[in-house]
Symmetry: C2
Subunit: 190 residues, 2 copies
DNA sequence: GTCTATAAAGAGATAGAC
DNA sequence: GTCTATCTCTTTATAGAC
């Protein structure tokens, strides 16, 4: 007899939730399948039933973020000018990163995950499209640096312990304001 | 007969150099002593002769950065106002991070290293003093977020592959300019 | 100061019982 | 779908020869 639909896939979600917490505490390389299993009170074999490898888990954890980025890029594609595409994408990224506050910081800057994403066409392509929209056509060096600093800054800031007391709404308001000012002053072509 | 002074400690430096390259490619957790030994063409035991543990290597790699931060903070301590202390420290950090371009990015945001540094009084204290100078007395939330974004942004940007073609001098010029503008526009108390 | 050898623990992953 | 048990490889780290 099949399990009710409402129950199906719950174990998978629990693995992802536990993995996310551990990844963000210890990094992906610093997290073992044993640690994930222990946190769930199950054995490694039970985890392997849900995912074929540790890489699979890491990719499944980040997937929702890339899905949202892709959605944002589809919206940006409908906009008429380079400038509006860029500013809408930057604002959208801020909201998106805060929505996935725990996830995005885990993966931005983690070399292990970087290599994993580079080796996964689906994700690499999204990253390249995002960079294309943020940089615009023929970006000069100052623009490149400003965009890089913005991206790293937002990702890094949302999980900075110094900031952790701020709730999502408050953080988003401040970050959107900073983003607007930053864009006006620091990106030459705006 | 003792080894000539000019030779002493060279093996140690070679270990640190190899470790730095591997750490920046694979993260600290993703790098094993075997990988370090292999890159040097020696055995693990030879590495263990120079350092008692992997943590020791990681701490020795970051030490020069913290030495320079401490030097910068001593300079900042001599300045009269909160604002000059902050702007001089921010500019100094930009130069310092570029000077240690390969090192600093490895460690900023790496959870393994974060825990290691938190557990080492010498380094934790420097980090706290730095945060104190950058934040100033009684920082509001917007200042906290701006400073956090600045720190993460500079660290993340210097090793962004998108930026890697820029040489140190060019990158420093752009980053110092961005820092100045950012400080004027984004930090409320300035 | 660098080696071989090895211990002891933990990693990722699989097979097969229930 | 979850377990026990196990395999194989790698890890950190030490002991002792040279």
């Amino acid at each position: 007899m099949a399990k009710p639909v409402a129950m199906r896939g719950f174990a998978r979600e629990r693995v992802l939730e536990a993995a996310l917490e551990l990844f963000s505490d210890h990094g992906v390389s610093g997290t073992s399948l044993q640690m994930i299993a222990d946190r769930l009170g199950v054995t490694k074999a039970a985890v392997y039933y849900q995912f074929h490898s540790k890489d699979d888990i890491a990719l499944a954890v980040v997937k929702p973020v890339f899905d949202d980025i892709e959605h944002l890029l589809r919206i940006a594609d409908t906009l008429p000018t380079t400038e509006t595409r860029r500013s809408v994408t930057m604002g959208g990224m801020v909201e998106l990163i805060i929505r996935h506050r725990r996830i995005s910081s885990v993966f931005y800057g983690d070399p292990t995950v970087h290599h994993l994403l580079e080796g996964t066409d689906e994700f690499r392509v999204v990253g390249e499209r995002l960079a294309g929209v943020l940089l615009g056509p023929d970006p000069d060096n100052a623009t490149r640096v400003a965009i890089s600093m913005f991206s790293a800054g937002v990702h890094g800031c949302v999980t900075d312990p110094m900031i952790s007391e701020l709730d999502d709404a408050e953080l988003q308001e401040i970050l959107l304001d900073l983003t607007k000012k930053f864009l006006e002053v620091c990106v030459p072509s705006c």
